[in-house]
Amino acid sequence: MSAHIRNTSSMDRRRFLQDSARGLTGCAVAGMGLAYFISDARALPAQALRPPGALSEPDFLAACIRCGLCVRDCPYDTLVLAELGEDGAATGTPYFTARDIPCEMCEDIPCVAACPTGALDKDLTNIDDADMGVAVLIDEETCLNALGLRCDVCYRVCPVIDEAITLERSHNERSGHHAIFMPTVHADKCTGCGKCEKSCVLPNEAAIKVLPRRIARADAADHYKLGWEDRNPLVDDLIDLPDRLPGPGTDNLVAPGGYLPATEGIPEASMDGGFNPGLKLPGTGGSN
């Protein structure tokens, strides 16, 4: 009888192990499929901009429950929920397309207030601090201002005018006597609202586009010193280089700054401040 009991329990164990193995492998396969689908689906296209205050994209997809409350409370119908297979963003997540309806940068930021989960960060209280993207003058060949005309529309509509977009004057080489007022975006002030992209007068695609910061911006080159910036000297008081100035007491009075035009040749060693090498090669007519 004990053999029979042991046999039954071993059959039970066998069945349990089989079922567990089956469940585990099935779920491993399904889970890998799901994870692959997710990794594929969460790639955010460059033209899809998240609402103001949105967490970084990986954090956003951990927080956004796709309820659409931000969409409902957007007074300008800027925000929409992505539709599967038609819009690039992960299905059901909120985004906007600047060329269609840009963000109007409401002072009370109703979309952020509506978000129940914190996918849109409540710490954003001043809409000027929003970072939905960065405008980039992406086509300098067709931009009317870049051609020397005075369109200026992107500059005029910018809610942070003269800070986020300025017009930088330069000489118009083509006409020879006109100016070019180049729209220039300052990324630290640009909120990525997209009003410039929306209002660009060119047909179809805009010459200025809002791109996600990850695409629009390069990392600063930390290994280069910008010596012209305040508090950023080329050399940080590490070594004291000798000053080379013309005049008495310096080592080169003949050629101020150490430069000597080639036509004048090397000054005589006997001259004050003339070149007097300490080591002379044999046969060069040295005075020793």
Binding site: D19, R22, G23, L24, G26, C27, A28, A30, G31, L34, A35, F37, I38, S39, A41, R42, P58, D59, L61, A62, A63, C64, I65, R66, C67, G68, L69, V71, R72, D73, V80, L81, A82, E83, L84, G85, E86, D87, A90, T91, G92, A114, C115, P116, T117, G118, K122
Partner: protein, 307 residues
Amino acid sequence: MSNKTKLPVGQEAIEEFGWMYAHRFLLLRRATQFFFLAIFLLGPWFGIWWFKGNLSGSMTFNFLPLNDPFITVQSFAALHWPETTALIGAVIVGVIYALIGGRVYCSWVCPINPVTDGAHWIHEKLGMQKGWQPKHNTRYWILAMVVAVSAATGTIAWEFVNPISMLHRGLIFGMGFAWAFVVAVFLFDIFVSRRGWCGHLCPVGTFYGLLGTKSVVRISAVKRSECDDCMDCFAVCPEMHVISPALRGKDEDTALILSPDCTNCGRCIDVCAMDVFKFTHRFDDTPAPGRVQRTRTQPATGASKAA
């Protein structure tokens, strides 16, 4: 089984009580399913913004937040701690379903339920085989898999494929190609697996089932001694294994259907001509004598009204 087993499901109840009464819980369920879709359409269609959002998260009268607790759990797994609003909403919904029965969500709210019910209707009309029937614990494996993938990818994983929110959100906000997921579930239930999606696979239903393990509202086979073995309740029940312990229990066994798989859909009450089942609470200890033992071919005399 009795000689009435071959009659269409619910036929005797319809003859006994009339069509409306014999479908009262089905009609009520369709009404509530429509209700939970329609209230969110009041805004976009008629400009009445009393209810905003969808089943994943909503705001009622700009005051009452309601959130899907399963999504909240996935958010935890993805290491995001939601704001208080969402947490309050999830707790409210969780407590409600813990009381009224977790899978009440499935049968009374979920918009996929009419889809799979329709699939089942076609399945029966076509006389299909039941097809692939996953083991009972498969749904728990899938639930665990979804939480694991949420943790691994740092996302609310199921929302990338969840046909429930695809359909509900799609009807309210715009569908795109999300209908393909709904059609896939529909065809799966017809051709691959009878009652396959809602009854065996969907992790949302599994989660709500666990939530309602100790729910107060339950169905009881209180007059099980009247049962005439017509089998209609088994035929109509989307989780037929939940009925047997209660209906076929002996005197000392409870007549309450206590399985968390029971969706409290009330269809067994609808189709039973003998009025065996009723809605009650889990503390109901009304004496419910078991059935008298009888042979397969001989129903208890006098127990059948249709006899």
